[in-house]
């Protein structure tokens, strides 16, 4: 459980369309100071009288701590279903009910490392904050961003500056290399002698990255995305089968023991089934 989590009324400071996404800035006071790359926030959607009873989770794209409680965070939101569409339709000045920061953060190595950051779709969001932190510690950072099409690559200018190399892939070839991020990973890992891969994006992508990082014997931290009803550990809807040190698989809550988890600990491809050998199965 993220011990800094708090519920606040946050003011929407800005809402701009960027490609297929909306870039939102929210005034969050002290939450900004406590937010770490990988953390997320849970937002109530639909307003008064809404038929939507559950919060929606959004990765913190960047957090800026200002003095006097004037901190703010930035989100990158894809208008997908009813909740995210409502959120991206809000105007600056709107009050947004927000709980955060939530969940685990990407681990920052104490030794210098060569890090590869891999993002799919809006999954690139938390990686830019991460790259700033890694860079400030003197690490070399390469980045690969993939999406189905160019409009869905989220790679802001200032973000690009914080990485040493940026490779883009699109399924339809409308930007960068035609193909999946996984098609280019092996080569980049080898060429740049990567020590650790950080990733965020759809589950299928994270699974493939894990296969590659295991083959290449590099570490892999990934931010996963399970359907979450509460975001704070009380509903048990967001579970994911994770192996512990002893090899025991448990269904852990991805909202409080995640979203950032070690890729090799995840029992992938477990949608609609409990893996054999899971505790209590």
């Amino acid at each position: 459980m993220n011990k800094f989590a708090a519920q606040i009324e946050s003011e929407l400071l800005s809402n701009k369309k960027v490609g297929a996404y909306h870039h939102l800035v929210l005034s969050v006071g002290d939450i900004a100071a406590h937010a770490r790359p990988g953390n997320f926030v849970a937002i109530a959607v639909g307003g008064e009288g809404s038929s939507m009873v559950l919060r929606r989770a959004f990765a913190i794209y960047r957090a800026s701590d200002r003095e006097n409680g004037l901190g703010y965070i930035e989100l990158v939101v894809a208008p997908h279903g009813k909740g995210s569409t409502w959120l991206t339709a809000q105007q600056p000045g709107a009050l947004i009910d927000l709980v955060g920061p939530l969940g685990t953060a990407f681990g920052i190595p104490t030794q210098p490392v060569r890090a590869l950051l891999v993002g799919g779709g809006y999954g690139s969001a938390p990686l830019f904050g991460l790259s700033e932190v890694l860079k400030s510690r003197g690490n070399r950072i390469d980045m690969v961003l993939g999406a189905s099409t160019a409009m869905k690559i989220y790679a802001p200018l200032e973000g690009k500056r914080s990485v040493n190399s940026l490779t883009i892939t699109t399924d339809d070839g409308s930007a960068g290399i035609a193909g999946k991020v996984s098609d280019v990973l092996r080569e980049i890992i080898d060429e740049n002698q990567i020590d650790i891969v950080y990733s965020c994006g759809p589950m299928g992508m994270l699974q493939v990255i894990t296969e590659i990082t295991q083959e290449k014997e590099v570490m892999h931290q990934c931010a996963i995305e399970e359907s979450m009803a509460c975001g704070i550990g009380i509903c048990m809807t967001c579970v994911l089968p994770i192996k512990d040190d002893s090899g025991l698989i448990r269904m852990v809550r991805s909202c409080i023991e995640g979203p950032v988890v070690d890729g090799e600990r995840v029992v992938w491809d477990s949608n609609r089934k409990i893996p054999e050998g899971t505790w209590g199965a």
């Binding site: 459980m1 939507m52 009380i234 809807t237 209590g280």
Partner: protein, 311 residues
């Protein structure tokens, strides 16, 4: 103003009538970050079984219009680890605690009751009988008067004299009053009404049931009219049996509705997911509304909507 907000279920006293709903507050720790758990009338723990359970595969939830479906499948560590870890923590914090238990056979309920009979720091037992009975083709205990009765009898025989038993019923029955009568006859001191309503969502993209477990339990504001009806029916039939009401309560007005129907205490489930401080808001709202309507105590308002039916 000396408003009495306290309530009783069986022999247990609670400072106020606002509880968490089983399975909607984990074992308390997670919510304690948002408010002082001692402000609750009671924390009701998630239903615990004899052994550790992985629960169902994901997806486990689907949002619905003014509600949600869940199929957690009673994931949990099993009673022994629960007694080792969760209960001591709640006791240390001084949180009034109701333990919810669930079994797959009548014997399971008996074993759980024996494990709990000498545990101190528990105010009452909530017996979740909305579970498949493996000895009866997976038929849910609460959906059959005979098995509902057997499960509660097993708890009553094994729990000893002290701990009040709250039998939690399913709304998925033709006649909830019939089931209520059976479990009260079997020794339940109070009733928890209602558990979730069986439902299903089909994903129109994948064109299959959204939940891995196919069906799930419907909760949230959508089911409140069903909860109010069940509570009203049971209170009308057995005005002396205390009811812990639940189903779609998210503010003081909702809670008042259930109290007027006949609930002596209120559990908050799904609303916690939308708002971690929901219980506190409901508590403050209910107290304010009761006072503004001239009640001197919660008790005066329990079942007040029936007053014109009296002969």
């Amino acid at each position: 103003m000396n408003f009495d907000f306290s309530t009783q279920l069986g022999s247990a006293n609670f400072a106020n009538p606002i509880f968490t709903a089983s399975g909607c507050a984990s074992s308390g720790k997670e919510l304690s970050q948002f408010f002082d758990l001692r402000e609750l009338g009671a924390l009701v723990t998630k239903s615990i079984m004899i052994k550790a359970r992985s629960g169902r595969a994901t997806p486990r939830m689907a949002e619905t219009a003014s509600g949600m479906l869940n199929s957690i499948g009673l994931q949990g560590p099993g009673i022994d680890l629960f007694l080792e870890n969760d209960i001591p923590w709640l006791q240390e914090q001084g949180v009034p605690t109701v333990v919810s238990i669930a079994g797959e056979s009548v014997e399971d309920y008996a074993v759980l009751a024996r494990k709990l009979r000498n545990v101190s720091g528990i105010k009452a037992l909530e017996v979740n009988i909305s579970c498949p009975n493996v000895e009866n083709r997976g038929m849910v205990f609460a959906c059959n008067p005979v098995t509902a009765r057997a499960a509660i009898e097993a708890v009553r025989r094994n729990i000893g004299g002290e701990l009040p038993i709250i039998a939690k019923l399913s709304p998925d029955v033709t006649d909830i009053v019939e089931i209520a009568r059976e479990v009260v006859a079997a020794g339940a001191d109070a009733l928890a009404l209602i558990n979730t309503v069986l439902g299903m969502v089909i994903d129109t993209k994948t064109m299959r049931p959204k939940l891995a477990g196919k069906t799930g339990g419907l909760s949230g504001p959508a089911i409140r009219p069903i909860a109010v009806r069940a509570i009203y029916q049971v209170h009308a039939a057995m005005p002396n049996v205390k009811i812990l009401g639940m189903g779609g309560v998210s503010n003081g007005h909702d809670a008042l509705e259930l109290v007027l129907a006949g609930a002596s205490a209120i559990s908050i489930g799904t609303a916690n997911f939308g708002n971690p401080r929901a219980t506190i808001l409901v508590k403050e709202g209910l107290e304010r509304l009761l006072i503004s309507r001239g009640f001197n105590s919660l008790q005066e308002a329990v079942g007040y909507a029936h007053r014109l039916d009296l002969p």
